[in-house]
Assembly symmetry: C2
Homo-oligomer: 195 residues x 2
């Protein structure tokens, strides 16, 4: 059995290789062979970690979760709409790194929709994200930045939908959706919500 | 060489089988073997049609295009916002058939993002869709339903993004996004645009 330090280093190598494969080829290109090639190891070694395709996909989703959780986020000193804006900007592909992150998540949807367990995992992830956004929407209503009559859940769901749809269109068409335009579109939408 | 009628009938069989595989397992599950099984044919027969994986994926996108083009659409007697609303409702997964259609398109994104040619094809498809939506937005401004100061391209792009993001969230979470709620969210979105 390898020492703990070896184990952690190996795990980092595997994660890094999985991420490179996802960024280049998406989940459709995620195979033991591709990961092995990306880390200069044998496919046999990886079979030890991943007995089947689903184990590899689940691990890849773990890697994506870790990367998403550890990325640096905008500060949000002001609650309410400013915090909502910052949280949505954190999702948009405004930098090459954020574009890779989004490309991986969008690529995960095909496999997640095909597998009940992965689908449920993704559903819970998005419910969690909306719950975090909802705090900002509720604060915006509280502060009078949004009409008191706002349906907090629907505004939150609309914000999440708008951001994710913009992610998809920007990934396919970087030319038509440069970062300035994405930001301008988000600001126009937030302005339209105000009373 | 088979008679023309045989050829067309065979093509319909293949298309139907491809669609069933996409609906059940997505592009990740689209293999010659799966299509052959779905049509009760031999894999050998299909190798004749599809020399490689990309040929099969391109054909699947053609099938999705045909199904999308031939689906029945809402009537749009009134131009402007009413027509925009109808066009966006046509995209949302409000029926089981529309959910399958969307599931297939969302599932296509992983492979399209990984291949320059397919990515360009998808980019052009979405530019075409936005050009059709833009006509309605421009008419809405013309009719005074939207402020004269509206940025027609940005409003169009925002509407497209909102609809596609809502598609994704509704596919993962049918419980939280029943058809009534999707429609209510779209109407709130359109209301917020009005002067």
């Amino acid at each position: 059995m390898p020492a703990r330090g070896d184990h952690d280093a190996r795990r980092r190598d595997v994660s890094e290789a999985v991420w490179r494969v996802l960024a280049d080829r998406g989940f459709g290109g995620l195979t033991l062979r591709a990961v092995a090639a990306a880390m200069g190891a044998s496919t046999g070694l990886l079979t030890h970690y991943f007995p089947n395709k689903k184990a590899l996909v689940s691990y890849a989703l773990d890697v994506a979760d870790e990367r998403t959780a550890s990325r640096s986020l905008r500060g949000t000193e002001t609650p309410g709409l400013a915090a909502l804006r910052a949280a949505l900007l954190d999702v948009l592909p405004l930098t090459p790194e954020a574009a890779v992150m989004n490309r991986v998540w969008v690529g995960s949807w095909d496999g997640s929709l095909a597998d009940p367990e992965l689908r449920e995992r993704e559903m819970r992830r998005y419910r969690g994200w909306r719950a975090r956004l909802r705090v900002h929407v509720a604060a915006a209503v509280e502060r009078g930045e949004l009409p008191a009559s706002s349906d907090v859940d629907d505004v939150t769901a609309a914000a999440a939908a708008f951001a994710h749809g913009l992610v998809v269109h920007a990934l396919f068409d970087a030319e038509e959706y440069p970062p300035e335009r994405q930001t301008r579109m988000l600001d126009a939408w937030l302005d339209a919500l105000a009373p």
